[in-house]
């Protein structure tokens, strides 16, 4: 029997075919070493091969012993799982790169929020930004910037969150916004006015998304008809089980009445 024949005979008993190559390689290396050793003792090549193969023993015995060690089912499962994974990785490569590129762009805003003030008329309110003015259901609210133009106050509010499931809070979150001041004026929210079919409203919330990033969203709250003697505007959101509020000082200060 030649060396390749012997290896083939052993492999015939090994059911898990992907292992045949490795087994053949190892046995061949061993047999070639054995033949080499005998040849160096003066045995002619043909005889050395015969002796080496004999010394290996019954190929059936060796093959069955090896077969017992390599479970075909587990082996095939592993091979196919690996192939599927690699295929998925290859297929996902292009969409992954584009998706990650788009995602990375959301970490940087289109425009810097400092630009907001230049879109508004009026004088800047002192004392801003007031960070972490309120915290609610995973969001942290900060009063970022504000202007006062006569009896109109515009406030840029920033909502920050960490969890990706809280991204894009809705404008309608401010649907239940109520505003009061320290001199007792009433301000009606636009959503309330709509529901009650009222013509006028004094509070309006909007968002244009230009300053937004993945983790922060900016809203502009506009309050009309603010009397000159008002020092503080208090905003309350009561739509949820735990209402929360934050105050905007109109003449500086830290926002506490």
């Amino acid at each position: 029997m030649t060396i390749p024949d012997y290896c083939a005979a052993v492999c015939r008993f090994v059911r898990f075919s992907p292992d045949h190559a490795a087994i053949t390689a190892e046995l061949t290396a061993h047999l070639e070493d054995a033949v080499g050793a005998r040849e160096s003792r003066g045995v002619p090549h043909e005889q050395a091969v015969v002796q080496a193969v004999d010394a290996m023993g019954d190929p059936a015995e060796v093959g069955k012993a090896l077969d017992a060690l390599h479970s075909p089912l587990l082996g095939w499962v592993q091979i196919w799982v690996r192939r599927v994974l690699v295929l998925c990785a290859v297929l996902m490569l292009l969409p992954a790169l584009t998706g990650l590129w788009t995602l990375s762009k959301t970490f940087v805003p289109q425009e810097h929020p400092a630009q907001w003030q230049s879109t508004q008329t009026g004088e800047a309110l002192p004392g801003l930004p007031i960070r972490n003015a309120a915290k609610h259901s995973g969001y942290t609210l900060s009063l970022w910037d504000g202007v006062r133009d006569g009896d109109t106050v515009a406030l840029l509010v920033r909502l920050e969150h960490f969890s990706p499931w809280l991204r894009s809070p809705s404008e309608w979150a401010f649907q239940s916004l109520t505003v009061t001041d320290n001199v007792g004026s009433t301000y009606i929210n636009w959503a309330t006015a709509q529901e009650a079919h009222l013509e006028e409203f004094q509070v309006y919330a909007s968002s244009n998304g230009r300053y937004d990033t993945f983790f922060s969203t900016y809203f502009t709250l506009t309050v009309y008809n603010v009397p000159p003697e008002a020092d503080i505007l208090t905003f309350t959101l009561a739509q949820s089980g735990e209402p929360f509020s934050f105050s905007l000082p109109l003449n500086g200060g830290d926002g506490h009445a």
Binding site: L85, M92, H136, S137, W172, A238, Q239, S240
Partner: protein, 213 residues
């Protein structure tokens, strides 16, 4: 021949490498699918948080087209219908959808909450504050499809399907499309008690002033 002499890795190392690749692909997939939620309830929760809406009592749940799930909840003095949708038609990953919050009107015995016209066409939810109301009738104008009667028709649907003081009404398909959820005051509501007597009727909407066949 090169192939036969690849670096020998133990079974354990190969398994770890495969699991790591699987984990990486799963995380990547999750990111690319726009960070879906893992359960329906998580999606509803996220939707409520994004709308600053509190944990409310779930009145009813519905299923719409394409596996979209709806919930009607009540928190404080607001009602809301909430929508989440399954990602890739799976039931494992969900994205929060839309939400509409309506303030309660405690004076009115019946408050209508028209639900999403796109994926749940023709469904109206009516919240009842009056325990004596057993059946609710909703009337609204609909432009019927060609082949039926010409022009606008008055459509009336009724239902006694009341759970948690919330009744669900479904319009038949032809008239379903016309139920505009923005025009809540286009719905005329009538509540009947067990004996069939009218308990309450909503104020007449504008369209009822016109003549109808």
């Amino acid at each position: 021949m090169r192939k036969f002499f690849r670096k020998q890795r133990t079974q354990g190392q190969k398994l770890r490498r495969d699991l790591l690749l699987l984990l990486l692909l799963a995380v990547l997939g999750w990111v690319l699918l726009d960070f879906p939620c893992f359960t329906r309830n998580q999606a509803f929760s996220a939707l409520e948080d994004r709308n600053f809406y509190g944990n409310g009592q779930v009145l009813r749940t519905l299923e719409g087209n394409y596996g979209h799930q709806y919930r009607i909840t009540r928190a404080g003095d607001c009602y809301a219908w909430e929508q989440v949708w399954p990602v890739l038609f799976s039931r494992i990953l969900w994205q929060p959808g839309q939400m509409e919050v309506i303030s309660d009107d405690p004076e009115a015995p019946l408050v209508a909450l028209p639900v999403d016209p796109d994926f749940l066409p023709g469904v109206v939810a009516v919240v009842s504050h009056d325990a004596s109301i057993v059946t609710v009738e909703v009337t609204y104008p609909a432009l019927c499809r060609p082949g039926g009667p010409e022009g606008w028709q008055k459509v009336t649907i009724s239902s006694a399907d009341c759970v948690n003081n919330c009744l669900l009404l479904r319009a038949p398909e032809e008239e379903a499309a016309q139920l505009d959820h923005q025009a809540m005051d286009a719905l005329s509501l009538t509540g009947y008690d067990a004996a069939g007597a009218v308990v309450w009727r909503s104020p007449q909407p504008d369209w009822s002033l016109y003549g109808w066949n």
